[in-house]
Symmetry: C2
Amino acid sequence: MAPRLAAWVEAERDRIVATLLEWLRIPSISAQAAHAADVRRSAEWTADLLAGAGLEHVAVLETAGAPSVYGDWLHAGPSAATALVYGHHDVQPVDPLDEWTSPPFEPAIVGGSIAGECRARGAVDDKGQVLYQVEAVRGLLATDGRLPLNVKFLIEGEEEVGSPHFESLLAAEAERLACDVIVVSDTDMWAPDVPTTCVGMRGLVAYDVRVRTADADLHSGLFGGAVPNPAHLVGRMVAALHDDGGRVAIPGFYDDVADLTPDEEASLAAIPLDEEQWRRMAGVRRLQGESGRSLLERIWTRPTCDVVGIDVGYQGEGMKTVVPARGGFKVTFRLVPDQKPEVIAERFERWLETMVPEGVDVDVTPHGGVAPALTPVDHPAVSALCRAIEGVWGKAPLFTRIGGSGPEEALGRVLGAPVLYLGVALPDDRFHAPNERMVMDQFWKGLLAAGELWHELRSP
Amino acid sequence: MAPRLAAWVEAERDRIVATLLEWLRIPSISAQAAHAADVRRSAEWTADLLAGAGLEHVAVLETAGAPSVYGDWLHAGPSAATALVYGHHDVQPVDPLDEWTSPPFEPAIVGGSIAGECRARGAVDDKGQVLYQVEAVRGLLATDGRLPLNVKFLIEGEEEVGSPHFESLLAAEAERLACDVIVVSDTDMWAPDVPTTCVGMRGLVAYDVRVRTADADLHSGLFGGAVPNPAHLVGRMVAALHDDGGRVAIPGFYDDVADLTPDEEASLAAIPLDEEQWRRMAGVRRLQGESGRSLLERIWTRPTCDVVGIDVGYQGEGMKTVVPARGGFKVTFRLVPDQKPEVIAERFERWLETMVPEGVDVDVTPHGGVAPALTPVDHPAVSALCRAIEGVWGKAPLFTRIGGSGPEEALGRVLGAPVLYLGVALPDDRFHAPNERMVMDQFWKGLLAAGELWHELRSP
């Protein structure tokens, strides 16, 4: 570990904490139009932060939505590697407000700035995790006078609303953003004493399926039993999505699923998972899923299908004796390497056609597609990240995946670089929920690990 | 046919039509609180109608909802039979108003009062069909000075909202309403040249099923694939209600279904049904149902199951990546003789239990039960009705059933008398729809048939 950076942190701790609290006071909620000016204020604040830390070419990058912020330090020379740090400065909404123990935008340090935690909306998702990256740059410049490699920062303003303009921004700014490796600072670790790094995220394919069987609702006494009922058809479609073993029953759905490497399998097996505790955290009374697969496989490394909503016919109070005329359902698929969104989409649509009897109208609307992201665990950059984490936490990290989908896939694909995940959040940090927090010890470790990482990655 | 009654009708035609139009101007919509005063005005108008026709003991019978109207003529003596005429004076709402060619409560005679039709809300359902019964009594009293049997009228005010207080009224007034036979004047015939009489109506059992799998909606990326999804469970339940042959798959569902008698089968086979025309009338592009059964069996004589609504999870615009926490469906069963609502209810609930995995909460709410109604076709009163219809239409009627459910079952059960259906409506009279109409020729025939029927039924 770099003793000079650690000493610098010691001396700068109070200023760093004050900087964090100042940023957290800006309610940069991207989902709410009323906070658009706050998101812009946060972007300008972020630009000042980057410039103050010694980054150059700082710019607020406009999009059709909320702005991102860019800054770089490119004096390591052409033979050194270039890393791009990704994070976001927007935050989630705060409802339900009455469950917060302190106001979400009045950040509080509880238990001290070393061993305690910081409570506020955005503390860990993602302002805290951007700040330790920026402060690592400031610290290295202050102590070494230079960075071991070229560094670029791209801090998004719309991550919490699904990054609607992010991919066009990446494409438009591909030259400015060109890099050898991407470091995402927006994920979590399994536990403080079980350091982990994410090596993959699931992809996403979503559909809205609408069924129409008649011109209008029909009297269930006069017509029931002789006309098609869209509720029955939708029920059969939804039921047929899975077999009795909980496997997705669409032909060819699993064809392209890549096996885990032995390293990944060993790492997965080493994760100390308490299923009962996970079940309680989920707020369910039973766990279920694809048969023959472990809980971690089900949420990380296996593709899934979940119907997110069904609506058919009458839903009001009491009863209405009709055969409904229309209805439908919304379904999402989570994809894993090497499934391709366009292939799964085509297989789903072809399967759906086989479910529809003649004389029934079915309307199918796709809702975007995100490919799964995978960083090969044997990539040298992953080894570099593992050494950086081990240097700070004292243990080599295990590999995890994230079941969700995000802008990381587009980052890796558009910029053509491997994606590393240096995340210090903890699973119980209450992402998106009341009383979001960041554990300060993880924050300081993240800062030091970022410094280590730049040394490890210095050659391309 | 009674020539004196026919001559009387000829002389009274203009007054009868004027009476009909006057009644149809009262917007007695029982479903809409804003029309409660109109329903009461209609009840008072009905009471005056009955009294004016020569009925006695006329009374507005109060219920917890809208009032019914009673009147009788009991001078035929204790050796004569007593018939009770049932109809209703309330009407359906009129939406969508812009589809009416003339205002629903400004009744219009189109094409003349003999060969034409009367257009208005309530023209055929049911004011017109009550009026020909009342005028038959007035006519017989005017021409014969007496009726061949004792007659009671019970004209309900809440039929169009499901007769919520009707059975308690029947029970409370059982003595006043005691009779040997009930004549329902609220149904239809197959065609003007194919006279028919209904001999049965289906019963009804309805349920609201609610499923809950989690405390709250869960992120479909982080939890999807490992937790139960209520959409999948509801889909499986709905799909499992029917087998691939369109039969209801609940064990024992068909156990108590009575076979048709040879007379009923022959009558069903004689109905001149154009399936293609029926399909167009239903507004569907395909017909389907229980395999091995004809269209008429499916809608009249076979029990059915229709899910009337499903609602699970997210139903808004676009997509939401959640595993929903709850959802449910509403289902109705139409029952035929000799199925009992309580037995079907018990079998459904027992079947549903087998569908629910441990750790999922299911809440099942029954919504009432109506037994199927059946009038044996070999009952002497049915033969009397057939002779009355043949006397006017020139052909013996065929037997039909009604797929729907109504207060007729309660009438027969509580009063302990067979239920006859003298209905002159036609299938394309647009019940409950814009431009409801009554074909005047059917109205005049109904009046004469009512007169015939009292002669045929005079002995108990």
